[in-house]
């Protein structure tokens, strides 16, 4: 047990540091970089291209697909180093982190060689299209239909909660190809060209006023059979692979709110007294720090396991569950200690550029995105602890016969 890099990783870290120093700007504060908007997107594309040219894109992918053929530990080193710089490194993480593995697993060699390098350098941007208005926690309850029409498939239906759909060139879409058999067996996965006319993207206005997610409508959108990922009816297994990758991708960037809280505690004075001296603040600080530190170290344990050839399991759900709840509770607590002005959301009045007020309003979405608290607990209970599933109301039924709200 130690905190040291292996000589190889130490070498790599030095290489990364040197390159970043030459090609990016060091961060000076804890402030976050806005994630939205066209401008951000352009900046991110430039950055990804630069990374790819220097050989730092998609470090764990094989070189022939635009990656660097390195290990997850190299990726960790990259992540640790890049955090010290102002970059848009995380901009396309959902697309790359989710769609990449799906294509690596299921696409044919030609598609991989053509599409993956362009994904890695963000020449093409990708999105993932799973959730539907009536298929949230029950992802496999989706209704978007894909019907064979000659060599093509015709897609009709609606997706929701698609991050980045508005600037995506391609998507990976999970569809129902057979509603007459059980819901898990009637699903098929495709790549889809998002720029075609049968695809309509409408932003969703979130409760915090932001528009990070979209609805995507398919009206006779066309997908060639060569864009199919895996077998017809094999979509659910593919989707599980992707969802697992998603949780891993998210577990790295899962907001917990703790660093911002610590920063606030060490700097803020209220009524002429540092809040760091307030016993109630200290009590919560200790409780949240012990959780936050536990998450950091859990991540280290997971990476150690991966480095030793193991695979990361459903344990990532733990980070999602704990981090998302902490994030919300911290934000609310801070607004409470600020007194009557805690409700004010104003850059010039609210500490940390109103970060905590924004988080109060955004954090419910973090608890929902990528699976609710309840879904996380189910995954831990069933997949990690091996507890028995609940009796299933829809077990053995043809999809079309399963009771639904509208039916």
């Amino acid at each position: 047990m130690d905190f040291q890099d292996t000589p190889e990783l130490a070498d790599f870290r030095q290489q990364v540091r040197t390159w970043l120093d030459a090609n990016a700007t060091r961060r000076t504060d804890n402030g976050h970089i806005g994630m939205e908007g066209e401008q951000a997107n352009h900046e991110a594309k430039d950055w990804y291209k630069k990374k790819a040219e220097a050989g730092f894109a998609c470090l764990t992918w094989p070189k022939e697909y635009g990656g660097a053929g390195l290990t997850s530990l190299h990726e960790v080193v990259w992540t640790q180093e890049v955090e010290n710089f102002k970059t848009r490194d995380a901009q396309f993480i959902i697309g790359i982190g989710n769609c990449g593995p799906a294509i690596l697993h299921f696409a044919n060699e030609e598609a991989k060689r053509e599409l993956l390098p362009r994904m890695a350098s963000a020449e093409d941007v990708w999105c993932q299209l799973f959730s539907e208005p009536n298929a949230g926690s029950d992802v496999a309850g989706l209704r978007t239909r894909a019907e064979l029409d000659g060599d093509n498939w015709k897609i009709n239906g609606q997706k929701i909660w698609t991050s980045g759909a508005q600037y995506s060139d391609y998507g990976v879409v999970l569809t129902r190809t057979d509603p007459t058999i059980s819901k898990y067996r009637g699903l098929t996965l495709f790549m889809i060209d998002m720029r075609q006319s049968g695809v309509e993207v409408r932003p969703i206005k979130q409760m915090d006023g932001g528009q990070h997610f979209n609805e995507v409508f398919f009206h006779d959108a066309i997908v060639p059979d060569s864009f199919r990922l895996g077998e017809i009816g094999g979509g659910w297994n593919g989707a599980l692979t992707i969802l697992m990758s998603e949780r891993l991708a998210i577990s790295g960037i899962q907001p917990t709110g703790f660093p911002q809280f610590l920063d606030l505690v060490t700097t803020l004075e209220l009524n002429g007294k540092p809040i760091a001296e307030d016993p109630i603040v200290r009590d919560r600080l200790a409780a949240w720090y012990s959780q936050w530190a536990g998450l950091q170290s859990t991540n280290k344990r997971m990476l150690t396991a991966v480095a030793k050839g193991g695979i990361a399991g459903a344990e990532a759900s733990l980070g999602k569950l704990v981090g998302a709840v902490m994030n919300q509770e911290i934000a609310n607590f801070v607004c409470q200690i600020l007194g009557p002005a805690g409700v004010i959301q104003d850059d010039t009045i609210s500490p940390a550029h109103a970060h905590f007020q924004q988080t109060v309003l955004f954090s419910p979405g973090v608890r929902l995105a990528g699976g609710t608290d309840e879904v996380m607990r189910n995954i831990i209970a069933e997949q990690v602890l091996g507890l028995p599933q609940e009796p299933r109301a829809d077990k053995g039924m043809a999809f079309q016969d399963i009771p639904t709200s509208s039916g």
Partner: protein, 366 residues
Amino acid sequence: MNFEFSEEQLFIRDQARNFLSQECKLSVVRSVLDSDTSFDRKLWQKVVGLSWTAMAIPESYGGLGLGYLELCVIAEELGRSLAPIPFSSSVYLATEALKSWGNEEQKQNYLPKLAAGELIGTLALSEGLGAPTVAAQVHDGALSGTKLPVPDGDVANFAVVSALGDTGAVGLYLVDLEGTGVERETLSSMDPSRSQARVIFDGAPAQLLGGGVSSADELAQLLDRAAVLLAFEQIGGCQSAMDMGIAYTRERYAFGRPVASFQAIKHKFADMYVALELARSNAYYGACALSSDAPDLPLAAATARVSATDAYYMISKENIQAHGGMGFTWEFDCHLHYRRAQLLSGLIGTQIQWKEHLATRLLKAA
């Protein structure tokens, strides 16, 4: 012992509920939330027309001369409907301050107009982050300083303002917010359906309220009364948010059955119910103490406040979760309660301060 509202009070409540379900649909709340307006003037005028602003003002000052219990049932319904009007500022705070401490002339000047809704008042204590402190000063009848946040401070006609007087003692002053020496600005907040303002006084004419209200205890009494009334707004909001979640999860299916049939969701609602019922019971006790001006009002008020604030935060937050992704959209109404829960929890001091009040009062009584 009788721990329920009277038939007459329940009748007032039902009337209020019917009225608000017609006149204050959530679209009304949204129109304030979505726009630059700070409150719904039409709704305000209708509410004035029903004499709710006059309810607890003595008949001699143009009011109905009813008691606090009637105000409690109204408050519950205002909370349930998320009414976007400056009722709490004008009625629970400004009116009560005048009733408590105004001299005869001030009462004659203000109370009839408050009753008739011709004036909207508010109370301005805070001067920025943290627990309210007083740096604003009155010299020779002119007030200077900045108050922030002032609830409904951008729409109120006048404010009762805490400031240091010529002797250096804290007092409460009546200040015309539409007069000279006053600049005000609406602030962004987590709940734009109820407004908050920065009010800058620069030599604004200020009139001492009554013979001078200086003791912290006296001010605490005013806030205690408001705490009970706000607790009723909060439990009204709790009930509405919980009902919303129950209705939605009964209708929405996952895995072939209603979401509301999953044990994790059922237990979530059970926990909401528990929080709400405890808060409701504490609010009722607070109402009892308020209406009889019982010696344990300070403790009862803090208790009502603490549990109502906890309950509204928890219920409005978990209601979003019970809705799943749709609960996070602007389109769905879940966030209206979540925002209001934040607003109400800040209004007269936050949870941490009220918990400390509660402990102090409890230990004093024990």
